[in-house]
């Protein structure tokens, strides 16, 4: 089938080419200062005879009189009239129109002049991404453009981030898709930031509808760098290195506060034991990080290349080298002109990462969680003398962990249960995640006739990941111990290919400019997974942690599964403009996915958008300070099949994990009916309306854009299990259960100018967001995450997605010192029915900004980013562990007797009135100075002596200053779990960094 598609496209191309190659004509090239201009219109004045230039800026015109005059135009450039004067070959260089400095933006399956864009697209340039210490592209995007929120999952090295474009539009996976040089991928963690040329974020449905069933959560298009046909080859080396440190201002109770609090709470009167450990100080350390990027780029008239390599190495501020993240990447991008009508090329990258994992985001056993909960009366290690309870355990054969000096780590002096000395627990973290990834695309561009470009492109995305861990023996308490060495491996090998064939035809007729795009694609994703487990190990140590060397075959376990998804699609786009003044675009995509049910096999996703460049109208005052003014409006429907499993319309039986003991030492396998089938299940559809204005003024120095969007995600996929009554007694797979609305405004403002040798620029962006679940198919809320046995987040009609649940309080009763719980249901009693919405993790407002200036050889950058209106639910406290430590604010603000005007209740270690109430919800708003950077570039005369093109040194401080009222470790309390956003179980804070940079090219 695939062969057939390719054949038909090629045969057609060759056929067309053959016909045109024989035509008589005059030929020419249109270029600008930086190279050929594809898509420029060339018209013989006074005739209908006109063409647009091909991708090399070339054109051929037939039957042109020798005295004819050509009109050459291109949006953003001054139109030129050129007399033929009998020439058969003409080279035309267009000059940029000073009044409309214009950029090209990458859109789905093509590029577009920004002035002609009718959708909402934000761009981030390479220098904004690579000039900071972020190890992942997502982090570097934070705060750069409006409408996109980037929430770090954690501050640990190599941790991912959640990108939400215009709010959370799905109950399950709401991540955007990433298109890297045309290849679709679901993660961009393996791309070196130094390889990136630009990032485009398609925010509205009209822009993303060309990606159909995968565009609903937005599309991020990443274009990597390529070589240049012109000029000399460039060798560049960039290096950033520095020290990371903890910057949180979080305070826990110290030893005396802790004792007082426990005494007042009636737990116990404890005498001081002379120990006052600040566990946060103990668990954090300064950590090294470095990033290096080396590239070679160049080309000839026929070929271009970019070869690059990068190395990233980052230790953790918790766990140091145990939380280390390393990444190596190599890339080869090349493009070759085979002949006049054929161009082939590739963008190919390989990366290798290794990440040490320490326990995070876990309210029971996380390292940071335990650092918060550990009582301050426990010493880190016993340096003078071991207490009898420890020696008793040692005598009893228990393995008490020791530090590198041979001292026993302190066992909890008071706190009980699974809570353990975090430093001792770090020594037993033997968990590593290694990945190898190949991501790339191979393409051929065929240009049989002027204006027509046929592309065939094969993308591959292969991900091999291995999580390898082993578990040493240790003992802290009966709840926190390991008495058997075991080895675990989890191996996943995702691979996908995507084959796309599309043709673009671009032409003009008088002032009518139009482009057609038509394409087909097919793709397949496969993911086998294997897990292996065995023990005990012959001896503790990394070298023994392999299954051949474990000793008891009876402990061996294997597991494995397989996931497969396939899709085929057809798509098309029509773009039209009249004189760059009236703009119109429509797209349509048709997808057939293996995840769809028999009943709804194929899906259409349409979009329509229009623009009006008012500044091009005759009535526009040429003298106006505003050079460019555009209204745009777009509407579209986009889908998401990310949360569909496929085959959900059939009744199945499963035997997974079902067995009963036969009474003779064996098991009898059992079967269960799997989910009740749902024949009507369909994809999620996101429908979005976008209205926007783009404006430029003062000779392009000022740029301003604003958008209003109204996005509704319909047929939201929710787990049927979370909606059907338990009395059905069966699982029900996914159902289309609701609608989520995201609405908001976005503003982007930029100003750049220059006074003599002083250049400066400022960019600001601001977005508002209102997120609400507007309907649910079944009138029942869906429970989200459970913390300590109770539902903590919910998905409910009329509320923000995954809002926080708890008791609402109305101050502290001055007489009793207890919180006054609001009787929400008016029943007269405080019951669980009074549990209500006490906060939302979603900010109302997020913003970012960059200031930059340069004077002669010096430059300065300042970036900041923040959110307003989000809340954080501090849930790392343990009501079931009376002796666990607490945040200092519970002590400082506590009620100590009538008239204490307290903000927090009397000392209390277990009451839901405190720990499941809004008293534990903090304002998550913050403003973070992402970067302050000073740079110095050597002046040209010195560079020339050194035979260098560029040499720049920089020093920056990053993520160093955070302004927030939140009294936890980090207001960016991230989580990998969608339903657990804003729930603080003891987050790994984002480290501050002091970074030195070196950048040179020759």
């Amino acid at each position: 089938m695939k062969i057939q598609v390719l054949k038909s496209v090629f045969i057609l191309g060759i056929l067309l080419l053959g016909t045109f190659a024989h035509a008589q004509s005059i030929s020419g090239t249109v270029s600008d200062a930086s190279g050929p201009l594809p898509g420029a219109s060339v018209l013989v004045i006074g005739t209908n005879n006109g063409v647009v230039t091909d991708f090399d800026g070339k054109f051929i015109l037939e039957e042109v009189n020798t005295d004819a005059v050509l009109q050459v135009s291109y949006v953003g450039f001054a139109t030129q009239e050129v007399a033929v004067n009998g020439r058969s070959s003409i080279a035309i260089v267009l000059i940029e129109d000073a009044n409309s400095l214009d950029e090209v933006v990458v859109v789905g399956y093509g590029t577009k002049k920004k002035s002609l864009v009718t959708g909402a697209i934000s761009s981030i340039k390479s220098e904004d991404i690579q000039n900071n210490a972020s190890t992942r592209v997502e982090q570097a995007m934070q705060g750069k453009v409006a409408g996109i929120s980037v929430l770090s999952n954690s501050g640990s090295p190599g941790a991912g981030a959640k990108i939400r474009i215009r709010g959370t539009g799905s109950n399950g996976n709401a991540d955007p898709i990433y298109i890297v040089d045309g290849m679709k991928t679901y993660s961009i963690d393996n791309i070196a930031s130094g390889d990136i040329a630009s990032v485009e974020v398609l925010k509205d449905a009209a822009s993303s509808a060309i990606y159909g069933t995968e565009g609903a959560n937005g599309v991020v298009i990443i274009t990597t760098k390529s070589g240049n046909n012109y000029g000399k080859p460039v060798i560049s080396y960039n290096s950033l290195f520095g020290v990371q440190s903890e910057r949180s201002s979080m305070k826990l109770m110290n030893e005396s506060q802790y004792r007082t609090y426990l005494e007042e709470a009636g737990v116990q009167t404890i005498a001081s034991n002379g120990v006052n450990t600040n566990w946060l100080n103990e668990v954090f350390e300064d950590a090294w990080m470095e990033k290096h990027h080396l590239s070679f780029a160049g080309g000839t008239e026929k070929s271009t290349y970019l070869l690059s390599g990068s190395y990233t190495n980052q230790d953790g501020i918790v766990g140091g080298s145990r939380a280390n993240f390393k990444r190596y990447t190599v890339r080869l991008n090349s493009k070759h002109k085979i002949n006049k009508w054929l161009e082939v090329g590739n963008n190919l990258s390989y990366s290798n990462t290794e990440r040490g994992l320490i326990g995070e985001d876990d309210e029971y056993r996380g390292i940071l969680n335990n650092a918060l909960l550990m009582d301050p009366m426990t010493p880190v290690t016993y340096t003078d003398g071991v207490p009898s309870k420890v020696s008793d355990l040692v005598n009893d054969g228990k393995t008490i962990l020791k530090d590198k000096h041979g001292n026993y780590y302190g066992l909890p002096a008071y706190v009980t249960g699974e809570i353990a000395n975090p430093l001792s627990m770090l020594t037993v973290q033997k968990n590593k995640l290694k990945t190898d990834k190949i991501l790339g695309s191979f393409f051929a561009n065929v240009s049989p006739v002027k204006g027509l470009l046929i592309t065939t492109r094969l993308g591959i995305d292969v991900n091999y990941s291995l999580r390898h861990s082993w578990n040493p023996i240790y003992y802290v308490s009966s709840e926190r111990q390991n008495s058997l060495t075991t080895v675990e491996d989890d191996i996943t090998k995702n691979s996908s290919w995507l084959w796309e064939n599309f043709a673009t035809y671009k032409n003009s007729y008088e002032k009518h400019n139009y482009t057609f795009l038509l394409g087909l694609s097919a793709e397949k994703y496969q993911s086998p997974n294997f897990s292996l487990f065995s023990g005990p190990m012959a001896k503790e140590g990394d070298n023994y942690a392999y299954h051949d060397f474990t000793q008891d075959d009876a402990l061996d376990r294997v597991g494995g599964t397989f996931v497969e998804r396939k899709k085929r699609s057809s798509f098309g786009r029509f773009s039209y403009d009249f004189d760059g003044r009236y703009l119109l675009e429509g797209t349509l995509r048709y997808d057939v996915s293996s995840a769809f049910s028999e009943k709804n096999k194929g899906a259409y996703f349409p979009s329509l958008s229009a623009g009006w460049v008012v500044s091009k109208e005759n009535f526009w005052n040429e003298e106006s300070a505003v050079d460019y003014f555009k209204f745009r409006a777009s509407w579209g429907q986009v889908g998401s099949d990310q949360n569909l499993l496929g085959n959900e319309a059939l009744q199945f039986f499963t035997s997974e994990g079902i067995k009963v003991p036969d009474g003779q030492g064996g098991f009898l396998p059992g079967y269960e009916a799997a989910n009740i089938p749902n024949e009507d299940l369909t994809w999620e559809t996101s429908e979005q309306l976008d209205l926007g204005i783009d404006l430029r003024a003062f000779d392009g120095k000022l740029r301003f854009s604003t958008d209003y969007y109204d996005k509704k995600t319909k047929d939201l996929i929710v787990s049927g299990n979370s909606l059907i009554p338990l009395s059905v007694g069966r699982g029900y797979g996914n159902i289309n259960g609701g609608t989520v609305s995201n609405k908001g405004w976005e503003f982007e403002l930029g100003y750049n100018d220059k006074v003599g040798e002083f250049n400066y620029g400022i960019n600001l962006n601001l977005s508002t967001l209102k997120n609400e679940v507007t309907s649910l198919a079944v009138d029942a809320p869906i429970d989200g995450v459970d913390v300590r046995g109770f539902t903590t987040t919910r998905f409910e009609q009329g509320q923000p997605i995954w809002y926080f649940r708890g008791y609402k309080t109305d101050g502290i009763d001055d007489a009793t010192g207890k919180p006054i719980i609001v009787d929400v249901d008016g029943s007269g009693d405080i019951t669980p029915n009074d549990i209500t919405n006490i906060g939302s993790p979603h900010p109302d407002l997020f913003y970012g900004g960059q200031f930059n200036m340069s004077y002669k050889s010096f430059d300065f950058n300042l970036n900041f980013q923040g959110t307003q209106g989000s809340e954080i639910y501090m849930l790392w406290t343990r009501t079931d562990r009376a002796y666990s430590n607490k945040p200092a604010f519970l002590y400082d603000g506590r009620w100590t007797g009538p008239g204490s005007n307290a903000s927090f209740p009397m000392a209390d270690v277990e009451s839901d009135d405190l720990y499941r109430s809004d008293l534990m919800v903090g304002d998550g708003s913050y403003m973070r100075i992402k970067q302050i950077q000073f740079g110095y570039s050597l002046p040209e005369n010195i560079l020339a002596k050194m035979r260098l093109d560029k040499l720049r040194f920089s020093i920056s401080i990053e993520d160093y200053f955070t302004f927030t009222k939140y009294e936890g470790l980090d207001p960016e309390a991230g989580s990998t779990n969608n339903m657990s956003q804003g729930i603080d179980r003891g987050v790994y804070p984002i480290p501050g960094k002091i970074i030195f940079g070196l950048s040179l090219s020759l």
Partner: protein, 509 residues
Amino acid sequence: METMKKYIKILIVGVLFAGTYTSCSDDFTDVEPIGLINEADFLTTDAEAESVIFGIYDLMAWNYNRPWNSAFFLKVLAGDCANAGSTSGDQPPLQQIDDFNQVSDNPAITGVWEGYYKTIGLANVLIEKLEVSDLGTKDKFIAEAKFLRAYSYFELVTLFGGVPLRVETPQTVEEFGLPRSTKREVYVQIEADLSVAIAGLPSKGSIAQSFRISKEAAQAVLGKVYLFQEKYDLASKEFEKVITSNSYDLEPNFKDVWNSEGEHGIESLIELSYVSTEKYDWGNFPWGGRPESNIHAQLMGPRGGVFEVEAIGIANGWGFNIPTAKIGMAFEDAGDTVRKEATVISEADLVSAGGAVNPPDVGIHDYEGYVRLKYVTKSEDTDGPINELNYGINWRLLRYADVLLMAAESYHKNNEDAKALIELNKVRSRAGLADVTALGSDLFDAIVLERQLELAFEGQRFFDLVRWGLADGELSGEGYQSKNQLFPIPQNEISRNTLIEPEDQNPGY
């Protein structure tokens, strides 16, 4: 321009043609499900039908052993023999149940509701599919599935009163809502299912595996169902059938009933199996899944660091299900040493046996001077690599001693005190106690006491007290109010079930 237009047309046609071509080949986007068997290819053989029966047993075993949310805890903690234990803030849902201040969103109650309905749901599927199948042996599987369904409904009706009576699988969202039936309607269904079960089940001697239900076990359950409805005549007839079948008997030594050698022994009518051979360790124990070991042993073992119990052959656990002084003293007052020694040990006895109790300054939450021995963390019941996670103790859900005591009660209520005494004294004599000779209400009191002592920590006491009307008196010290005679319908069910409204909640919740 004319020629160009022509070629564009050719191109578009070409692309569309290719598009159509791919669209026709639908098989490209078909993906086979992994690891699942389509119903069209299933339940065509004995073995397949039987494997679903095993699936139902597995769900039952899961429901009674779900870590923290088990039917076992729900039934035991409501009684007056057990306190929740551990520390006061530990597992609030279980503390609530113990203290009778449970609320409708209590996850342990919700979990148990879910567990019974999952068991019923799978039984429904099997019954429905088999009823229309031409499998020749289907009747015996239908009989067994109906027993398992009836048993679950019986537990539900005693815990919650009238519940939604779901006897077939709903196919669409519209059918998911179902109102509460009356208690009476639920009992009618239970009786009907049990009568089919009794007719189709094999006798004890012919059951295929020791954990499968026998005809006599179904008769005993039917007897219990009658007894709970105060249909004493019918009840006594069913118990009589079980007794006269001689399929079951009392284990000669009371303490052997809970030994691993005694699993599925002569006294056991319904028993859920767990094993110590799965070699769970801290890294792979399925906390959210379906452990094959009995994790409750560890959850309810005497709390480490507080109780030193090694001297009596017991390992430490996490301290839940700790005895009340009431049950300890009940044994002492009755002079019942045989059963006491297998059920609880007092602090004094523990210390004299070489153990110790080391209370922290705050004291031991819920501790009233006794340590539980029935279903305790006996070192011999577990195996490595991690003893804590591999206890293999089976839950005895219905014992012959219980049958005898229920028979005695039915006879007594049916004015057949002489017959009642015979059955009662069988149980007493095994416990080494003198025969009871009292008649009338004294006999009834003797039966009440006997059930308390014999069946302590087996999840019977609370339901007995409620049906006898004695709960108000006996449980008042535990925080019981009359509304607590039923557990609240889970809030979750009320909000999702479109035909159950908040006002349909059990009174007082």
